[in-house]
């Protein structure tokens, strides 16, 4: 971001109430995730079969010991929701970072060079796009075993495609700009042109895409947890999945984790819109999950 864009962002943020609220929500969720181990909360895995399905504190039968109530094994809902934020944020941020890193490098290199390399890369991406990402994730996680690292790698790898494609459409127009031609004319080496001149001018859609993708990754992680592919962890998706049999009797078991996923992703998306407004309202950002 240039300093002028920073100024624009800050002045827009002053009037953008929704963006302000979103930042507050995200800061709270990140703080909860980071401080979970030191917060005075019961262990999220501790079962208490004498106190199963206790309602939240404001309902009849609720206790101050469990402000959000308990689940079907008597585990403290508040503690589980707080600890669950760790998995969501970890997967959301690291999978997106991975996707951005690989996608930007591959997309930049392939589209800047053009020709056969570009053609082949795009065909490979078409293939990856035609298999629903969630199927790839399910297949890999069941065949190779459930692990958080594998989940991050699979999600990150799959989303690489969107980065590369978004960057490509941008590079194709930027590399024809006068300043690129000028740099070449004075004898700047190609890799330097690519990184110093082309890349910085392609970053705006990448920043918007990154914001959107953190949210999308959190949603996919929750969906896979819901399907039972990350059972080992305390995660919001797992909590919703486990509450399915108690919907009619204990609404809070599905509502709290779902609400946290929703609010987190909503805040991220509002920030994504905010960034899009800062840069250029006509940015072409391609997703595809």
């Amino acid at each position: 971001m240039t300093s002028r864009e920073w100024q624009k962002a800050i002045s827009l943020l002053r009037v953008h109430r929704l963006a302000q609220v979103s930042i507050v929500i995200l800061v709270v969720v990140v703080l909860l995730a980071l401080t979970a181990p030191v917060l005075p909360l019961p262990n999220p895995r501790d079962q208490d079969l004498g106190n199963v399905l206790l309602p939240p504190i404001w309902e009849r039968g609720g206790t101050p010991a469990h402000p959000f109530g308990t689940d079907f094994l008597g585990r403290d809902m508040l503690s589980r929701v707080v600890w669950g934020s760790q998995i969501s944020l970890l997967v959301g941020f690291s999978a997106t970072a991975l996707a951005a890193l690989i996608g930007v490098s591959v997309g930049l290199a392939a589209s800047y060079r053009g020709g056969l390399v570009d053609e082949v890369t795009m065909r490979i991406f078409d293939t990856i796009l035609s298999i629903p990402g969630i199927l790839i994730a399910i297949a890999v996680l069941t065949v190779l075993g459930q692990s958080l690292l594998l989940l991050i790698v699979v999600l990150g790898f799959r989303s690489t495609v969107s980065y590369a494609r978004t960057l490509r459409s941008r590079v194709l127009s930027v590399k024809e700009e006068q300043y690129v031609k000028a740099a070449r004319a004075v004898g700047v080496r190609e890799p330097v042109i690519m990184i110093r001149h082309v890349l910085p001018n392609c970053l705006a859609p990448i920043i918007v895409l990154t914001t959107i993708y953190i949210g999308v990754m959190i949603l996919i992680e929750a969906g896979l947890s819901f399907l039972g592919l990350t059972r080992l962890h305390v995660s919001w998706g797992v909590m919703v999945a486990e509450s399915r049999d108690y919907l009619a009797t204990a609404w809070w078991t599905a509502t709290f984790p779902g609400l946290f996923i929703f609010l987190t992703v909503l805040s991220i998306n509002i920030l994504g819109d905010f960034f899009r407004d800062v840069f250029d309202p006509r940015l072409q950002v391609r997703t595809g999950v």
Binding site: P132, V143, G288
Partner: protein
């Protein structure tokens, strides 16, 4: 134009070939011996050797892959381990359920998202735009499985309006029923379809509506639109012929990309609503380690996505004369 179509068709075939390579490696990446896996838990060493020969696993990998693809082309999808029957009929049996769910969700998406997006764009920062922005933001932020569960909780459990899960009369039979004077059949299929369809389309609907808004807004600012207005053309004509026609292009592109997401979302939605489709089958067969069935179902789903993407590519021919003429 013929070159464009040939290119797209060739591309689709290449993609399908790559998909089979992926499903093929799925089996060979799995820890353990595939033959032992398929021979079952109580197989002797001899059984495993026999199974290995029967499946051709003793041959070199490239040859195995060639045989696998040739078999697929001939409709031989292998045998399900759990059911002990050929995989293809098992998949075909569940295909209509997924087809009707995804197609209906796509239709619902287009029928609502595009008009909605246009209304939002016509008066930017007006009331409709503000409400629309909020609703679509909710739509792209809500986890589909949670939306499904909340809908079941409210509509089915509390209000008792619709069934919680399962599938009624197949939609095709329902439509035939409507024509032949049995509207109750259509009602039976729709009653079960409403909640899964709404859940499945929520994300895409909101996403496409947002895209339509920005796309229409961009076209509205173009000089040829202002020129058309200046010439005194009626607003409806300007909107349909000049604005929408051009605004549809990026929408169609993104729709082509999002189809994969919609079909993938069906895995989750089918699980939430106990919808007996291919998505549920993929998930069940993988968790039961029924690899031949899972491979077949993944190939079939990808084939469906590729076919729909091809349709979208062909839709370009109608929408964009530049593609037709080049």
């Amino acid at each position: 134009m013929t070159r464009y179509i040939a290119r797209r068709l060739g591309n689709a075939l290449l993609v399908m070939l790559a998909v089979t390579l992926l499903t093929f490696s799925l089996l060979h990446l799995s820890p353990g011996d595939p033959a032992a896996l398929m021979a079952g838990e109580f197989a002797t060493a001899q059984d495993i050797t026999r199974m290995s020969e029967k499946l051709g696993l003793d041959k070199p990998l490239p040859q195995q892959y060639a045989i696998y693809v040739l078999n697929l082309v001939q409709g031989d999808f292998g045998k399900s381990i759990v059911y002990g029957t050929p995989a293809l009929p098992l998949i075909q049996q569940r295909l209509p359920a997924t087809l009707e769910l995804t197609l209906l969700a796509t239709l619902l998406t287009l029928a609502i998202a595009i008009p909605f997006g246009v209304i939002m764009a016509v008066k930017p920062r007006g009331l409709a735009d503000y409400v629309g922005a909020l609703v679509t933001l909710f739509g792209v932020s809500i986890p589909s499985f949670w939306l499904g569960i909340v809908l079941i909780l409210i509509v089915s459990v509390d209000l008792r309006l619709l069934p919680t899960s399962g599938r009624g009369t197949p939609l095709v039979d329902g439509l035939v029923g409507l024509v032949s004077g049995h509207p109750d059949r259509l009602a039976s299929s729709l009653r079960y379809l409403v909640l899964p369809t709404v859940t499945l389309s929520a994300f895409q609907l909101a996403f496409i509506a947002r895209l339509t808004r920005s796309s229409v807004l961009e076209e509205l600012g173009r000089t040829f639109v202002r020129a058309a207005r200046a010439r005194g053309l009626p607003n409806s004509l300007v909107m349909t012929k000049h604005v929408l026609r051009n605004a549809l292009m990026p929408i169609v592109t993104v729709l082509g990309i999002e189809i994969g997401g919609l079909v993938g979302g069906a895995v989750i939605v089918e699980t939430v609503f106990g919808w007996p489709g291919v998505g549920q089958l993929v998930f069940q067969s993988i968790s039961r380690r029924d690899y031949p069935l899972a491979q077949g179902a993944i190939v079939m789903i990808s084939g469906f996505v590729v076919a729909l993407t091809l349709l979208v590519d062909l839709a370009y021919l109608r929408l964009d004369p530049r593609v037709r003429l080049s």
